[in-house]
Amino acid sequence: MSQKHHVLSVLVENKAGVLARVSALFSRRGFNIYSLVAAPTDDPRLSRLTIVVDVESAPLEQITKQLFKLINVVKISELSPDQAIERELALMTVQADGTSRSQVMELVAIFEGKIVDVGSDQVTIMMAGEPAKLDGFEQLMRSYGIVDLQRSGRVALPRLEVGRPRLRSVTGQVAN
């Protein structure tokens, strides 16, 4: 994935059908979702969607403005890659028989992953980290044989050093 992606952290009402509205909006307006994670927040009335969008598919501003028109969308923070802590989780089952098992385990250790299940000639690895790190690990594992791969999609929060997230205004005025 190129650097042209952007992460939208979207606070939505925790109500039935909200996810369907969001995804319907993306398809109707011809926007592309790269990944989407939905999860509850500390406030039971709200959920957070972390949506990675391919900004080449449409101007980001149109996406956020159209999203904000959904009645159930409460707040949108736009996190550009350099302003966000992004993490992703991967579960990966890899071929690891007698000859390759130790190499695989070594690489898992180097990448600070964890072996969470062991079969006679396969292991399942859990790895959390920056998406690029998972990409790299996935690349390495390919030569051993990936049997199954499940990535979680990204979750993100703003970086603390740069202060509060720059909230791109959806009202056309400057918000700070």
């Binding site: 009402e13 059908g17 149109q62 904000f68 028109k69 959904l70 009645i71 009202t171 056309g172 005025q173």
Partner: protein, 590 residues
């Protein structure tokens, strides 16, 4: 006080100010129809749910109040989807109540079950599935609030049958009780943006106001008049804004766009400042976007932030209610002019030249057409001009979709806001008859005429039965060219006159007999010579619907025209205007 959900729903509608409901009952909505008998609501029983939707739209267009429609689950709900989409495209406030199968049956493919909220998600501003009778007053109040505030639009409330039957304790919510944490339309313009806009306005040499439907939605016609006349800026009114600024005002340039007049189209192309007020740079207005108003800076006012920058990036984007923004602009322009010591900014030489240029275009390229030969079918433009001359100033004109709609918009002289009801964004054939009915219900004091096409009329004519039964005396002029004329025009011009599936028939159906079978008065005009007498007769009928079958010249085309996708500079004015141009330029040379 204990009420059933159904009673609470009816009482909620009453509390929200509803006087009229357009609808048609069925199984899932049955409980709601019972308390209607004891309510203050006037229910108008349509003959097809699409008619209920368009009637509600017509009511809203004419009154500014939200139209209310009520239909049953499944096919009732799917039948009204077209009208919801139409209202969504044209930002028409509308509240649609649909019955739904009982909660426990949802998802089981029960009889007449449809995923109504799912189906209508992309054609409503918002929708609700009610899951507890206790929520009904709050949700109905929220529905009216969402439909009528910010950028207006249709909303839908889906009510399962068991919820209608369940008991609840009556209450009425305050706005603070609303559960709408994500809904906060911004109405007040940002002062800095207003100041920037005012500066551009004072400095502009060739400004044009591009007024859209938002002017009417924001009830900003008076504010626009004040603004335009004070700063002496010419105004174009889009298809959705016809009537927002009176056509006969010296600053009014009429309609821009694909079938706009030469002056309106060209003034936009040549302007150096385009002041877009409640308009959305629709492709039917802009033509090829990259060639649209190429030298203009843009001030764009819209209450919907997503419209700003969607098509054209504005130098000064202003998110605000149109009326508030225009009032602020009027003030700010005066301040700015004083500050810059240019109180007569509108009287400078460039502005004077601009006004002259516009007058020259108007002189050279007015809206003219060739009159019909005696005894031959009427020209559609003549029918509209005659009708205008023979009806009160504040007559409400409704249109279907096609050539007749464009002629109606081009040749009717609009003198008041809220006198034009049409389907702009979706272009829904069949809109006119039910919308006229709804408009007349909302404004019984007004004369309501619909200009309809023979093709359009056949899509929703059954609502004339509704009009007869309910004694709603609407008048319908069918411009009968025996063709799906607009499509025919494109086939003639762009498909080498290869006519494919566009011929209808002048006589089948017999519109006079059909109307009479529906309880209305049917009249026919065979030639251009009988227009006046027949309109006279139609105007005198006040107790039932009238349909006039005007036989018109099938070969007549809508001009001017900017072919789809081309630059507005490539406007084709057509033979009649061209001939006029030749004649006056010759005279000028002598």
């Amino acid at each position: 006080m204990k009420l059933t959900g159904a009673q609470a729903l009816i009482r909620s509608l009453e509390t929200c100010g509803t006087e009229v409901v357009f609808g048609l009952p069925g199984g899932a909505i049955l409980p709601v129809y019972d308390p209607i008998i004891d309510s203050s609501l006037r229910h108008i029983l349509v003959r097809h749910e699409q008619g209920a939707g368009h009637a509600a739209e017509g009511y809203a267009h004419a009154t500014g109040r939200p139209g209310v429609a009520m239909v049953t689950s499944g096919p009732g709900a799917t039948n009204i989807v077209t009208a919801l989409c139409d209202a969504y495209m044209d930002s028409v406030p509308m509240v649609c109540i649909t019955g739904q199968v009982p909660l426990a049956a949802i998802g089981t493919d029960a009889f007449q079950e449809a995923d109504t909220t799912g189906i209508t998600t992309s054609v409503t501003k918002h929708n609700w599935l009610v899951t507890s009778a206790q929520d009904i007053p709050r949700i109905v109040a929220e529905a009216f609030h969402v439909a009528t505030t910010g950028r207006p639009g249709p909303v839908l409330v889906d009510i399962p049958k068991d919820i209608s039957n369940a008991e609840m304790e009556w209450y009425w919510p305050e706005e603070s009780d609303f559960d709408l944490p994500g809904y906060r339309p911004n109405l007040r313009p940002h002062p800095r943006m207003i100041a920037q806009a005012a500066k551009l306005i004072v400095e502009a040499e060739r400004p044009v106001i591009y007024a859209g439907g938002g002017i009417l939605k924001a009830r900003a016609s008076e504010a626009l008049m004040e603004f335009a006349t004070r700063s002496k800026i010419p105004v174009v009114t889009t298809l959705m804004a016809r009537g927002a600024f009176p056509d006969e005002h010296p600053l009014c340039l009429g309609m821009p766009g694909m079938h706009g007049n030469y002056t309106a189209v060209t003034a936009i192309q040549k302007c150096d400042l385009l002041i877009a007020l409640g308009s959305r740079f629709d492709d039917r207005v802009t033509g090829k976007v990259s060639a649209f108003a190429p030298n203009a800076k843009v001030i764009h006012v819209d209450v919907d932030p997503a419209e700003l920058g969607k098509v054209r990036v504005a130098e000064v984007p202003i998110v605000a209610d149109c009326r508030l923004a225009i009032e602020e602009l009027t003030r700010a322009v005066a301040d700015q002019a004083i500050k810059a010591d240019r109180e007569d900014f509108w009287a400078t030489t460039p502005r004077h030249n601009w006004a002259e240029q516009i007058a020259r275009w108007q002189h050279l390229y007015p809206m003219v057409y060739e009159p019909s030969e005696p005894g031959l079918p009427a020209k559609p433009q003549a029918v509209i001009e005659t009708l205008r001359a023979m009806t009160p100033d504040d007559t409400i004109l409704v249109a279907g979709v096609g050539q007749h709609q464009m002629w109606a918009s081009q040749y009717w002289k609009f003198r008041h806001p809220y006198t034009w009801v049409n389907s702009g964004g979706l272009g829904t054939m069949g809109f006119a008859v039910p919308a006229a009915l709804g408009a007349k219900v909302g404004r019984p004091d007004r004369m309501v005429w619909a200009i309809d096409g023979d093709g359009c009329f056949q899509m929703t004519a059954q609502e004339i039965v509704t009009a007869t039964m309910e004694q709603i005396p609407i008048k319908i002029a069918i411009l009968n060219n025996a063709y799906l004329g607009m499509v025919r025009q494109w086939q003639e011009m762009f498909y080498e006159e290869r006519y494919s599936e566009v011929y209808l028939s002048p006589d089948l159906p017999d519109y006079v007999k059909w109307t009479e079978a529906m309880g209305g008065v049917g009249l026919r005009v065979e030639s251009g010579d009988d227009i006046e007498n027949t309109i006279d007769k139609a105007n005198s009928i006040n107790d039932r619907p009238v349909v006039v079958d005007f036989r018109i010249d099938a070969k007549e085309k809508v001009f001017p025209m900017v072919p789809a996708g081309q630059s507005n500079d490539d406007i084709v004015v057509g033979p009649a205007i061209e001939a006029h141009f030749e004649a006056v330029s010759k005279k000028g040379n002598r």
